[in-house]
């Protein structure tokens, strides 16, 4: 063993460096961000203007298109987060095919910073995307009852959700052998809100789907967002949602770390 001391590792500084790299890459390649935002916007317009009249009539207490815009907006906001994290899986998979990752692996740096750079970049991207989509929702008739405190709580909660699912998607991106694979594997994250209380109340569903809907993570997440923004009862949804997020973040982090350290 050598007695020579190694230069200290700087995980926070390295993560900040990698975050700057990822933000620059996002700015150079804006079509990715635009695509990620366009998807939830299209869904929002579709659900409010095409389906909203009928779906709104079926809500408890009725109310038509205006009521439905308020019902669906939280789900669309969550879909925006999922759309962004799907983009994370793609950009991580793309990054892994580039030689620069091999270079990072041969350098004496905090290795996890390659991943934390992606995670932090994507969370910021999600914040940006959610802001844009919420703005569009307000334009098409979304009328939240939330005060400043609730808005702040919503923002914090969504950042936690984004953080958890970004780690999961980093792992999915690392696990997929091709970039195409990485764009497909997170697809369930877009679909799961449909099998929950995102677009219609779960009471209207057949028993089996209702059972699934009530126990899957997206239902408490959506109920929390809806409760914060619209003043509907939250109950224990917030705690359930945060527990899900913690579990997903931890799984994603450990899985990503293992995948990144495996030999290529």
């Amino acid at each position: 063993m050598s007695t020579q001391t190694l230069p200290r590792l700087h995980p926070i500084h390295d993560s900040a460096t990698m975050l700057r790299r990822n933000l620059k890459r996002m700015l150079r390649y804006p079509s990715m961000t635009i695509t990620l935002i366009a998807m939830p916007v299209v869904f929002l317009l579709l659900f409010v203007y095409v389906l909203g009249g009928t779906l709104g009539a079926g809500l408890p207490g009725g109310g038509g298109r205006a009521a439905y815009a308020n019902y669906v907006a939280p789900a669309i906001i969550l879909m925006t987060v999922m759309s962004t994290v799907q983009g994370t899986a793609i950009s991580v998979a793309m990054d892994m095919t580039e030689g620069i990752i091999a270079r990072f692996r041969t350098m004496h740096i905090a290795r996890v910073s390659v991943l934390t750079g992606h995670v932090l970049g994507s969370v910021l991207q999600a914040v940006f995307a959610v802001t844009v989509v919420t703005g569009v929702a307000l334009l098409v008739g979304f009328r939240p009852t939330a005060g400043p405190l609730e808005w702040l709580a919503t923002a914090g909660f969504l950042v936690a959700v984004a953080f958890a699912f970004v780690w999961l998607c980093v792992a999915l991106g690392l696990a997929s052998k091709t970039v195409e694979g990485a764009s497909n594997t997170p697809l369930p994250l877009i679909l799961l809100p449909f099998l929950g209380s995102g677009f219609v109340p779960t009471d209207s569903m057949p028993a089996a789907i209702r059972w699934f809907a009530e126990y899957q993570p997206f239902t408490p997440i959506i109920e929390t967002v809806r409760g914060l923004l619209m003043g509907t009862p939250i109950g224990n949804s917030a705690w359930l949602a945060l527990a899900w997020c913690a579990a997903i973040a931890l799984t994603g982090y450990l899985w990503s770390k293992r995948l990144f350290n495996r030999e290529s």
Partner: protein, 307 residues
């Protein structure tokens, strides 16, 4: 600076490295020469901590790559076969990224990036994304990024593959300058000319083993293929020489003969006196030592023949 003993690596049933031994001294250029698929890149990956070995001991810059990978990483720089630059970032941003990862501080990072851009003739392209660079420019940027951290050992994995002759010559000059600064270079290449130009010592890798090692001159001397070329004024003199020299063969040139020889003074003296004894007049005599191509072909085909 680098010492490798009994290095083995297989991927499934496929044996890539089958007991490789190498020794590289500080401040020298060592070239690992081999055809595609000979195991050059695998060797570099193991030496640069990207892959672990199945067996054998590898020490780089005084540290064991398996037990102290971080210490090895702190001492090395790697420029891979496929440019390891971030194509969405500009040349300057790529260098600043490396400076940040080496904890260089803003002012020093900017200064070093500027100096390297100038040294590698990239100043004009500094603000353009690397994706717009030519192959040669990307390789230069790649190597410049490796140099930001002042590595003691640099691995260059086929640094000129795919470059045009000009780009290749530029790269050679850069490598020579680096060695002059005292850096140790481990170079892999499939071009014999490149190893001949740059390397202090050459190891030829074939079928997972080092099949020959030495200086370019040593390798050339070990291999048959050297000959003396004799040119004659006319066919009569050539025929006369053929009668005297039973082991001569006709050269492509109608008025020339090839006589196998190791080029040593002793053999030359013998040859000249034999010609002199029979009063054969020779217009022109030249000695040809084998080039590395001869060496390479001879070594690799020998190995195939014994299998």
């Amino acid at each position: 600076m680098i010492s490798v003993t009994g290095l083995r690596k297989s991927f499934g049933d496929h044996v890539v490295l089958d007991g490789v031994d190498l020794e590289v001294r500080r401040g020298t250029v060592f070239s690992l020469l081999g055809a595609n698929g000979a195991g050059k890149t695998t060797t570099v990956k193991i030496l640069s901590t990207l892959l672990s070995a199945d067996a054998g001991e590898v020490r780089v810059a005084g540290h064991d790559v398996a037990r102290e990978p971080d210490a090895v990483r702190a001492a090395i720089g790697v420029t891979g076969q496929f440019s390891a630059v971030d194509k969405l970032l500009t040349g300057e941003e790529n260098l600043r990224l490396m400076a940040d990862l080496h904890q260089l501080g803003k002012a020093e990072g900017r200064q070093r990036a500027g100096r390297l851009l100038e040294q590698f003739d990239l100043t004009d392209a500094a603000k353009k994304p690397a994706s717009t660079y030519s192959g040669g420019m990307q390789r230069r940027l790649d190597l410049a990024m490796t140099l930001v951290g002042n590595p003691q050992v640099i691995f260059l994995d086929e640094p000129t593959t795919g470059l045009d002759p000009r780009g290749r010559r530029d790269m050679w000059q850069i490598v020579r300058d680096l060695v002059a600064d005292g850096v140790t270079i481990f170079l892999t290449t499939q071009y014999l000319e490149e190893a001949d130009e740059l390397a202090d010592r050459i190891a030829v890798l074939g079928h997972g083993r080092v099949i020959a090692e030495g200086t370019a001159e040593e390798l050339k001397r070990r291999i048959p293929g050297g000959h003396v070329r004799l040119r004659f004024a006319d066919h009569e003199r050539l025929d006369a020489a053929l009668r005297v020299l039973s082991d001569a063969s006709r050269d492509n040139d109608a008025l020339a003969l090839r006589v196998p020889s190791d080029g040593s003074l002793h053999e030359l003296k013998n040859l000249i006196s034999r010609l002199d004894d029979h009063t054969v007049e020779v217009d022109e005599l030249s000695v040809h030592t084998p080039d590395l191509d001869d060496v390479f072909l001879a070594l690799t085909s020998q190995k195939v023949a014994t299998r």
